[in-house]
């Protein structure tokens, strides 16, 4: 009887909200996915002049909390897991895209 009173959120349980996965994604599409994530995390940044070879940290105001967000958004949107020891791979756009490409292959397999 007590359990009946425990209210329950159905939309939480049924929420499977992926925007796709990295399968079939070309590097340009992965890049765009990262740009989308960055524009959500740092809405005030102008991302049109992003230099892909330069560290994010050197051209944007990103702190460690923001990097955690990049990782979390990848998991939320694309179900890609980035273990903590791999965080340095997400330093720049170039390193991020090349790091995520094989992950994409794993998803496909």
């Amino acid at each position: 009887m007590a359990k009946n009173q425990i209210c329950f959120s159905f939309n939480q349980l049924t929420k499977i909200e992926t925007k796709g996965d990295f399968a079939d994604m070309a590097p340009e599409e992965i890049r765009q996915a990262i740009v989308d994530i960055l524009s959500d995390i740092a809405p005030d940044e102008d991302l049109s002049h992003l230099d892909d070879s330069v560290n994010f940290r050197d051209q944007m105001e990103l702190d460690s909390m923001d990097f955690l967000d990049i990782v979390m958004e990848l998991r939320k949107r694309y179900r890609v897991q980035v273990p903590e020891e791999d965080y340095p791979q997400l330093a720049s756009m170039d390193t991020t895209v090349s790091y995520l490409e094989p992950k994409m292959a794993n998803v496909t397999a």
Binding site: K3, F8, S9, N11, I41, D44, E61, L68
Partner: protein, 503 residues
Amino acid sequence: MVDEHQNDDFQSPDLVPLESEAIPSSPESEAVPLSPESDVPYDTIIIGAGMSGLAAGIRLAYYDQRVCLLEKHYTIGGLNSFYRLNKRDYDVGLHAVTNFTEKGAKKGPFSRILKQLRFKWEDFALAPQKYSRVVFPSTSLVFNNDISLLTSEVERAFPERRDSWQLLLGQITEYDDLEQAAFEISARQRLQELLVDPLLINMLLCPLMWYGNPREHDMAWGQFCIMFRSIFLEGFARPYKGVRLILKNLIKRFRSLGGELKLRHGVSRILVEGGKAIGVELDDGRKLFGKRVLSSAGHLETLRMCEDVSEPDPRTAGQMSFIESISVLDRQPTQIGYDETIVFFNDSDDFCWAPPERDLCDLRTGVICSPNNYAYGEGYENLPEGIIRLTSIASYDRWNQLDEPHYQLEKMRWYDRSIESCVRFIPDFRPFVVDTDMFTPTTIRRFTWHDNGAVYGAPDKKLDGTTHLPNVFLCGTDQGFVGIIGAMMSGISMANIHCLRDE
């Protein structure tokens, strides 16, 4: 209205239970039929729907956790809640939001919070203060949200301290937030070495202690630096609609992400099995299960809930509590010559920050704030009525011992006395008062559930948010950050560090 306390300030018939007004109704009804999944534990159970619990809840729900936010009181907000009395809206804790930075600022806690919770700067609609003042009998220092004003004031009043002031600013900028050892240094001792002048030291400590020091007499250096930045280097602001606007945004976001809020759901115990928390037992005996618990109930208060802990040492509870005397005026405060946003006063060169020794309150020092005196800018009329709020130091124990008739009587007496004390420092507004209210340490206790109604929690902070249990964590005042922005920052960082990474 449900309230079990004898000293109930809010029994006026037109008090509206606040959920109906400010908390958008939940999409799921309370009586959803039992589903087989209801034995599935929550990812995180959060205790307390104040600023820190709400912010943590948003972070976790945003990343698809199943989150349950349990609040003992009948409304959200904790210390920073609000109420309606005699057809007027009142805020409980909010004088000012600290840490104000202008739109577009990329550094500082406020911009971090906006980013982490995915809000726009405009969502909080913060209007900056006009100017504020620290006033002691022989000197006063004016400041605003630009540190150069305070610097010039210090140079004017204490010309021989010009260089040491710059040294102090440097040390505060360099201070590292999360280092426990540096945090614990005595602020008085450090300031004594740097600034020497006892009056200047007291005049700096006065506002910073008032807005965030849980300790008596002295202040932790870390707390001093955090408060100095949030007040002098960043600044004061307020939304035109007060704390309601902030809470409304937070709860709407939390619910839209699928988070569950349960009001009037006090936690009586944290259930422990095999050295880990497995869930909580509610005041009515029901049990909820979860993978981890994030508690804003306070350090000591949380330990006491844990089944495996016998009575913790009560001496670690905070003692600093306040009364708040609120006066509604028939005109704007500026019309009687009161222009400041906030005035911190002290009636001698010695500044004593401790609970009253003999009486219900200690009126030698206080904070006066008028929500009218913010720069609301174009498009806003000023607030319809003048409001002057006054905070004074009070003893929880003495207020709590009063029976109901004496409680009401003392409230009236201390309203009069406290106002009499504060009009020594600002124009006498008493002829223009049309309504008053007062809340006391027992009111604060009811909203926060912190021991002793300790506004800033326990004197010893637990910066890393850990407890003796591997999956029970602290957030809120006892983790270390105070104020509206500090509390949200605490919820966000503890959610990030302890609740998101190991998923």
